[in-house]
């Protein structure tokens, strides 16, 4: 139970930020803890590029507990891309080192008057001049900082305020929403953390036992124990193509004829050196590939999809090279790829003469460089799809929600996922959306076009993801949430029954989970979220399933309240009209996202009024007022 430090870059003052036991009980850690801190400190009308913006870096109780896949930490800020909250999650080891230094979180505000990097140790924070680091790539910066410390760095993208610049820790990234740009604005190039403090557990022997049984569960599951380690997140591309949720040609289509050339199988067969992963993870889904004779981290699913099918590119070698280049420049691959796709379509439609074409890849390496340095058309693309569409047109196919570019899952064949995207607090994020594609094709196969039960299920999934993130765990172990049997045998009659039942499960899910006060669900469901038991033995808090899903609900509503203060209304719970009004398959009248209908059910499930604002009753129950 470490302290939380507040660092003011303007005054160079470092003090302890008040974080009480009551706060820990209600907000656990990670993105939810960060949301609370942002909610308490950022007033309406604050400019993301200002010294009044805060960057909140938070760890979670599971960090350092040796639970599987538990290295995840969080960075939240007011996003320069969306104007709303962005919580950006990362698997690098910075969080673990921050905890070893004795801190659960770092709250950074102000703006340094010179280029700065911060050194966090057990005795406090030292300010260093970063002139010699400024301009370096992310890997070079980490190399220069050297030593056995945890590091957070930005690249040229962040320095030049590219609106979707990310922050890097080892080869993992807090990629989305432009946290890197906020760091760049504050003249903060890097943060390091070192320490020797050991975590304290409530019941250490039980922690070992719970971890062992959790690892066993993961190893015996088809996805987490076999497919994801072998093929990485890229494994899912096969299912996406099959179910027409593989975004192609700027989300115009749901399938790509050359999908196999970009798939996880091809990646594994032709380019993989070995699989690697974050510290403490048993899944080890990362791809180690070769670029210019060096072993580097390879592309994730969304990168493959958005720089492949979505640009009509089937050259996987190019994608591998671009992925590494973008990591070095410090830029979110999803947002940049979405921006490029929009630019290509604007060119195609004669709205913007920029020389970019679908399938034409020889000018993209230079383009990415230009984006990071805001040169030429790169300067326009650095603004993101929302601002590009406001300037050049094409709002119907600027594929973002709330300004955050949507990842490679095409929601017209997974409408629940579309609902999730439209309502996620950070914008078009597939994880914040509750990852409904897992229920609508990639894991289970409930009816992907129906609106029935989607409101209730999306709420439940979003809350679960929220709580899992707050606990410090990676999303991948959550794949084991659905019994392996159902995933391995999609045509088995039991699986078929489950899929049908899901379609009608909405009322039951609402009554027995969403609307049920947590205290009436004092269970630990070992395979469905082992997190609850792991949290309990580590912290001693009563984090049974009921409380856990309430924590998720609390976190989701807290981010929503923050967004409302920053100007969010129900009108922002939307998707580009290509996804809501145009049919993906002209022969299937259901192949578009019937958002308005689902929103009604969703607001009801959430306990929000018809304007999407949480009611006082709801907020009181969640102890947010």
């Amino acid at each position: 139970m470490g302290k939380v430090l507040k660092v003011d870059l303007t005054t160079k003052q470092v003090i302890e930020y008040p974080w009480t036991d009551q706060d820990r009980k209600l907000f656990i850690g990670g993105k939810t803890m960060a949301a609370k801190i942002l909610y308490d400190n950022i007033q309406a009308g604050t400019d993301p590029f200002s010294s009044d913006n805060y960057i909140v870096i938070t760890t979670s109780p599971l960090n350092g507990s040796a639970a599987p896949s538990s290295s995840r930490f969080n960075m939240s800020t007011l996003s320069p891309l969306t104007g709303f909250i962005i919580s950006s999650n990362c698997g690098g080891n910075f969080g673990l080192h921050l905890k070893r230094a004795g801190y659960d979180g770092l709250v950074i505000t102000g703006k340094a008057d010179e280029k700065t990097w911060l050194e966090v140790t057990e005795t406090g924070v030292a300010f260093h001049n970063a002139d010699n680091l400024w301009g370096l790539t992310t890997s070079k910066t980490q190399e220069e900082l050297g030593g056995k410390t945890g590091k957070l760095v930005i690249g040229p993208g962040g320095e030049n305020l590219v609106r979707y610049a990310g922050v890097f820790s080892q080869e993992r990234t807090a990629g989305r929403g432009g946290v890197g740009a906020v760091m760049g604005y504050k003249n903060l190039k890097a943060v390091t953390a070192t320490g020797t403090k050991k975590p304290e557990f409530w019941k250490p022997e039980k922690v070992r036992k719970v971890n062992l049984s959790w690892v066993k569960l993961l190893k015996n599951h088809d996805l987490t124990g076999d497919k994801l380690p072998k093929y990485g997140s890229a494994y899912l591309m096969k299912g996406m193509q099959k179910h027409s949720i593989l975004a192609t040609h700027n989300f115009k289509y749901g399938q790509y004829k050359d999908w196999e050339m970009c798939s996880g199988h091809t990646l594994a067969k032709d380019h993989l050196i070995k699989n690697e992963g974050c510290v403490t993870c048993t899944v080890q889904c990362a791809r180690a590939v070769e670029v210019n004779g060096n072993k580097v981290k390879g592309p994730e699913l969304e990168t493959l999809g958005l720089l492949g099918p979505n640009l009509e590119n089937n050259n996987i070698r190019a994608i591998i090279d671009w992925n590494f280049q973008l990591d070095e420049l410090g830029i979110d691959t999803i947002s940049v790829a979405g921006s490029v796709a929009l630019a290509m379509e604007l060119n195609e439609n004669g709205l913007w003469n920029n020389g970019l074409e679908f399938g034409k890849i020889d000018n993209l390496t230079q383009l990415f460089e230009d984006i990071a340095y805001r040169r030429g058309i790169g300067n326009e693309l650095a603004e993101g799809t929302k601002r590009m569409s406001e300037k050049f047109g094409g709002k119907a196919y600027a594929i973002h929600a709330k300004g955050l570019e949507i990842a490679a899952y095409e929601p017209r064949s997974a409408v629940g996922h579309g609902l999730g995207l439209a309502t996620a607090n950070r914008g078009g994020c597939h994880l914040n959306a509750g990852y409904m594609v897992f229920m609508e094709g990639l894991g289970l196969q409930m009816d992907p076009y129906t609106t029935m039960s989607k409101g209730a299920l999306v709420m439940f999934m979003q809350n679960a993801m929220e709580a899992v993130a707050a606990a410090g765990s990676c999303f991948f172990p959550v794949f084991a949430f659905v019994p392996s049997f159902l995933i391995e045998k999609p045509n088995n009659f039991i699986t078929k029954i489950v899929n049908v039942v899901l379609k009608y499960s909405g009322l039951v899910v609402n009554l027995f989970v969403n609307w049920m006060p947590g205290k009436f669900l004092p269970l630990h469901l070992p395979f469905m979220l082992p997190h609850t038991l792991a949290l309990k033995v580590v912290t001693g808090m009563n984090t049974h399933f009921g409380n856990f899903k309430d924590i998720g609900d609390r976190g989701f509503n807290l981010e929503r309240m923050f967004n409302i203060r920053m100007g969010l209304t129900a009108a922002d719970d939307t998707l580009p009209s290509r996804l809501t009004d145009e049919l993906q398959d002209p022969n299937n009248p259901k192949s578009k996202v019937p958002l308005k209908r689902m929103l009604k059910d969703y607001y009801k499930a959430r306990g929000w009024d018809e304007n999407g604002i949480p009611t006082q009753k709801k907020l009181k129950y969640l102890k947010l007022v």
């Binding site: 302890e16 008040p18 308490d40 950022i42 007033q43 309406a44």
Partner: protein, 393 residues
């Protein structure tokens, strides 16, 4: 919001200003007394402050009965008895205390012994056990401070039992108190900071403890505002008369506030720390205050949020979203401590103050016996106390 029931009592006549000491003969005249005993300590004498006071009285024809200048740092029964004997031997009829909290408390103790015509002050330990009207008493504080010049409490050390005894009675309040900047102008930076933070702690605790009422609140807010605007200046530039007078007033207001609404766990833990590790009272309060505020946050957040306006000023108050104001108030106090450390080396952690880690358990145990703990917004048990002390370490 009015409490269902409250009491507020402050009968002390307050005289504040640049030449306020000149009023002493007049005030003694009104009270129809002629032969005051002056109670003070070596520090006051050595710094020339007693001379200033005597000078103000010399043309009046008043005869000083006797001067007792041996008051020890935490007061003591021995000193009280000795001084009371001097009072009797010299047929004095009033007391003038010139000094900090210990001197004023000693004077109150002497007054008990004389007025109750006793030789065993211990019989009167506790609350409201005095029976006789006390001798006329003028308090002249030389620190800003304990606020003892307007409190109904006297804390006196009993060396036989190694305990501090508290005497509480409305009868103990002085008739007059005089705030004159000449009395604090020479206070060195560290003492200015530490005593200033003592006053701030009184005000913050008075505003958030269980017995608060609208009048104590008003005094607390007045104190906080003056400290906010004058403490750092007085530490940096001790010769600033206006700052010194402002702090003297702030200390008085804070004393009046907590005299009526009581203090809480900051003082509970702080007294115990002082008793075990002999740390400076005011500095200990400053160190512990933000950590107890963290502990109290659940119940006291509305009060702390309201205090933000006075602790940090309008601009910061408006800039901070409502849900975050209570925490921002705690942050402001932390920043104050940090600033004072940078300027004059005041400690901000118990370890810096010289407390040893193995003393924490004893401190927590002792704190449980301190009356102030009763008034804290959230009941603090032994384990809570230990945790708070650890986080302040």
């Amino acid at each position: 919001m009015l409490p269902l029931y409250y009491e507020f009592y402050n009968p002390v006549k307050i005289i504040s200003g640049r030449k306020a000491l000149e009023n002493i003969p007049y005030e003694l005249g009104i009270m129809q007394v002629h032969k005051p005993m002056i109670v003070t300590d070596k520090g006051v004498v050595d710094n020339g402050l007693l001379d200033i006071v005597l000078n103000c009285m010399k043309d009046s024809g008043l005869a000083i009965g006797v001067i007792y200048a041996e008051t020890p740092p935490d007061s003591s029964i021995i000193a009280v008895n000795k001084a009371a004997a001097l009072f009797r031997d010299n047929a004095c009829d009033s007391i003038i205390a010139v000094g900090g909290g210990s001197v004023i408390d000693t004077a109150k103790g002497i007054n008990i012994v004389i007025s109750e015509e006793t030789d065993d002050i211990i019989r009167f330990v506790g609350a409201e056990r005095l029976t006789k009207i006390q001798k006329p008493f003028i308090a002249i504080p030389t620190t800003s401070g304990t606020g003892s010049e307007v409190t109904l409490v006297s804390v006196i050390y009993n060396p036989d039992k190694n305990v501090k005894m508290a005497f509480t009675s409305n009868l103990l309040l002085p008739k007059v108190t005089i705030l004159d900047p000449r009395m604090t102008i020479g206070l060195p930076p560290f003492l200015t900071a530490a005593t200033g933070m003592d006053a701030l702690t009184h005000a913050v605790e008075a505003y958030s403890c269980l017995q608060k009422n609208p009048l104590s609140d008003a005094h607390a807010i007045a104190a906080i505002t003056l400290i906010r605007d004058n403490l750092i200046e007085a530490v940096k530039n001790g010769k600033n008369e206006q700052a010194r007078l402002s702090l003297a007033n702030a200390s008085l207001f804070a004393g009046a506030a907590f005299s009526n609404s009581m203090v809480g766990s900051v003082h509970g833990l702080g007294h115990a720390t002082g008793a075990v590790a002999h740390t400076h009272h005011g500095m200990t309060m400053a160190i512990i205050l933000p950590h107890v505020m963290d502990f109290n946050l659940e119940k006291a957040s509305e009060n702390y949020a309201a205090l933000l306006l006075h602790l940090a000023g309008e601009e910061i108050y408006i800039k901070t979203p409502a849900p975050g104001r209570a925490k921002k108030a705690i942050e402001t106090i932390r920043l104050m401590n940090q600033t004072l450390r940078d300027i004059c080396g005041m400690s901000v952690t118990l370890s810096q103050a010289g407390v040893k880690e193995d003393q924490l358990e004893e401190i927590a145990r002792k704190a449980m016996g301190d009356g102030s703990m009763m008034f804290n917004p959230i009941e603090m048990e032994y384990n809570d106390a230990l945790r708070v002390l650890k986080s302040a370490f």
